[in-house]
Structures are given as C-alpha cells and as structure tokens.
Point group: C2
Chain length 301, copies 2
Amino acid sequence: MQVGLVAHKFMGNKEKTIQKTLDLIEKVAKNGAQLVILQELHQNYYFCQNESVECFDLANSWEDDKVFWGKVAKKFGIVLVTSLFEKRTAGLYHNTAVVFEKDGKIVGIYRKMHIPDDPQFYEKFYFTPGDLGFEPIDTSVGRLGVLVCWDQWYPEAARLMALKGAEILIYPTAIGWFDGDEKDEKSRQLEAWVAVQRGHSVANGIPVIAVNRIGFEPQNISEFEKCKKTKNPKENGIRFWGNSFVFGSQGEQIFRANDTDELAQVVTIDMQRCENVRRWWPFLRDRRIEAYENLTKRFID
Amino acid sequence: MQVGLVAHKFMGNKEKTIQKTLDLIEKVAKNGAQLVILQELHQNYYFCQNESVECFDLANSWEDDKVFWGKVAKKFGIVLVTSLFEKRTAGLYHNTAVVFEKDGKIVGIYRKMHIPDDPQFYEKFYFTPGDLGFEPIDTSVGRLGVLVCWDQWYPEAARLMALKGAEILIYPTAIGWFDGDEKDEKSRQLEAWVAVQRGHSVANGIPVIAVNRIGFEPQNISEFEKCKKTKNPKENGIRFWGNSFVFGSQGEQIFRANDTDELAQVVTIDMQRCENVRRWWPFLRDRRIEAYENLTKRFID
C-alpha cells in the first residue's frame, strides 16, 4: 500500500493552514498515495497550550469540517485520516479522528481515549475521553487501527486494536519540546516516543505510522508572527518535533522524517508481510489470557 | 544500584560452564555488583534444540541446584537471579527463575509464563507454562519483576509486573540467529528484540535488563567440540546473539553488549529516576481500565 504522510507548520490562521494541507495532499496523491494521514488537530494551531473557554469556538465548525474533508477525500480519491475538534453538544467535546473513504463518505470515527494533561498540553480541559472504545475502521485499503497521540504510549490500545483485526496502527500526533530543556533530555523524550511505538509494531506484528506536527507555536498564539521572524524566540511555546515515522510489521524502520521540514512523503508498506511475520513470531498464539485479568485494575496494592 | 550482568558461551559441559559463571560472578561482585543476573538456563547447553526425553535428566539436579546457587549468592553477598530447569514431579517441569538473597536464602521463584515453540526452540515439549502468574519478588535491592525470555515479547507481562509495583524488569534470555538467515533478516530480528523491551521500559517508566546467551551451539550437542574449532561450522545450530542490555526508566540506553564477547559488566542504575519519569509522563494516571477487558480475550472475531 502507498501511504501519504502530510505534516507542516501552522501557517498563521486556519485558512492558510488548510490550504497548505491541501497542497501537500495533492502532492502525495499525485505520487500515488492511496491512504493519507494528517497530523493531530491539523486545521489550526495547537490550542491546548492554554485553558481558555474561547477556544471551544474552534469546534463550532465541526459539522462543516466533516463535509469539507469528505470533499477533499473524494476530490483526490484517497482514504483520508483527519484529526478534528468534535463538538458533540454544548459543553461536550472530543479529540476525534474522522476517516473518509475515497468517495468522500465517513467510514468511521475514533474519539481519543487517553487524554493527557501536562503544562501546555491541557487536553483534559478540552476533551472528554472517548467513549467508542478501540474499534478499527474498515476501509477500501484495509482495517485501520486509528488512535491519537497520547494513546501511543499505551500498549493496551495497540493490542486491543490488533485483537480486533487492525492491519495497521495510525497515530496523528502533536508532541514537541520545550526550548528550555537540555539537549540530552530532548533526545531521550524523542527516542522514547519512537521506541514505545516501535514496540507496538513488534509486539503485534503490524505496521505503525505516526504523523506529528512540526514547528514552533508560542503559548500566546497572538505572538506567532513575531516568533516566526526569529530562530530562537524567547516566548513560551512548544517546538513540535516532527520525526513522523513508519515501522513495518517486524518493527523495521521504513521511514523517519527530520524535526523541521514539512512532510509530503509517500511510503510503501507491504501489508502482506504481517502474515509472514506472525507465522515466524506467533506471539498471539501464546498469550496467557487467563492470567491477564489484572490489566483492568488501576494498580494492585 | 549496581547490577552485574553475566553471560558467556557454553563451555562443553555443566561443570566447566558453572565454573566460568562463578569466575564472572566473582568479577562483578568484586566490582561492586549488588544484584547479579545470569542468562537463561545458564547451567548447561540450550537443550531445547531437540525434543529428547533424555534431556529431562538435566532437571534431576533441581533440588541440588537451588542449594548450590544459594551458597554462591551468600559467598559473594549478592542478590542473584538464576534460571534453572525445575523438576516439580515426574513428567512436570518448568523453566524457572530462582532469586536468592544475599544470605543465600530463596526469596522467590518465577515460572516462565509464555512458552515458545519454534524449530530448535522446542520449549513447549519441556516446560509446562508457569502457574504462579506475574508476581514481583521482593529483595533487599528492590522489588524485581523477573520474567524469562519469550515473556519479553508480551507488553501484558511487563505491565502486570509494573502494576504490582515491580521497580525493574529482568529477562534472562536465550535467543539467537540461524546462520543461514540473511544479514538483513538477522538485523531485523535483533533490533525487534531490543525495541519491544525498550518499549516496556518507556510504557512503564522502569528500567529493563536482558541478559542473553552468547556463542554457537550445534543442534547435535555432541558436535560441540568440533564446531568450536571452526569459525563457520556447517552444523545446524543457534548462534546466540548476546547484545545484553540495560535501558533506564525513560527508555534511555544505559548499556548494550556486543554479540560475541563474554560479559561480566557492572552497570549503575538510578532506581530513583522512575519517580521523576513517572511524574513527567504519568501514563498510569490515564489508563482506560474500563475499556481494557477484551485484553483477556484470545481474539475478538
């Protein structure tokens, strides 16, 4: 399968940001992408750096957004994995991946199940944890195990998708560094993020894709244009670390991006390889399910 | 904590092999090791390359072996993680890690829960899957999450140990290459093995140690001395790939061995780091336990 990975910086406002996304989707579609994956909350800046009730306005376009991205999927004839801000009703919002078929129809949604809450990643303020569980989405290019960002740290999420027949794991992501951290610490964070997801690939014998945001976004987004003009802005903010990647069914690295450049990459994934890898390493055969019930406990005191 | 990793080739018979192990334990103990970890089934050759009822004789010394290694732990004043062939009764055997305190007393055993069965790794013939579950072992150097080899591919095992308060994961291991495989395939296998365990470290915020066998052992062990004389023996066999490693609580690499040299390495592990790492990345806080019950299913059809 040909997969298109699309990621780029926030462009200053929603219109410009979406236009850039469309340009890059067109590029990967022309290069043969059948499935295209976008970064987390790709329509705008990463608003979760602050707790601000005004930001709920960003979800007001939820119904229109779904119509819009359906048209994009149809126009380019691609299966499209988007990451949108869902307004379910007043005061009830989700961080939701919406998956569109080549004909533009929605084939499934996934509401982010694990919600982080760190300084400048105040997602618990915005997003109610998903209530749809870990359900793969069937598409014309395969059964997609779509998860979102923080989910990527949880082996349980990956395993549950695999046990429901997901053929690939997909993580739209928004993760980055604080400029004030030491270089070593930044390296440990990035490599840990790669390592845990590579582990999901190995443990489940399926490919894993993460598409992460890129570029610096100040906590005070009104300072964005000013920050753009300097390489080392003094503002508080997140430097999204890019490094989008693809690992194959045996955990082998197929692609890894750098931490700065916009991404419009088509990657070939051998979807038949899972069958061979799982025959060689039949981990699913030997799970001790009768000894796993404590996995549903918070902790065992 | 100072941890001693000890691994070496099979030395031709049990006596010589144990003597080599003792020499290396002495070395790491003198260099300050408080906890020493040995490779899987370290007393002898890896007999699971064949299904042979005669090999059950190797478990006849089980009671004596426990006494012997207890004396070793006491002599050197170390907590010692051994990997022995347990004879529980006639026709009932386990692949069992026995952990000794500094005073030589047994503080706990772990019976390998996940049992592999591949060509030349015929462990299901020899070992009944463990019936003690995933229980950490309390020692004077900390609560040890001792698992064995094939367990290392299972995120469930690592998580359950962490949920019971294990402060470190430890995997005595016997894994290697077949010489006939391509170089690329060998590399994928080795890196997958490292990656999945590194993932456990990240997902659980605790250090992970694997100590793996080294060297070529022919399937027909009577050919061992002949094979020793040539660099590229034509015999069927397993080339144990070494590469013993230590990852810290954030998945950072602290130590990694090569694939050939005997190992008597003391590694310093910061056991307090877990506390910090888990405060920064509080994965345990956000587990969706109410959505995990399917982890106890074989597959969800």
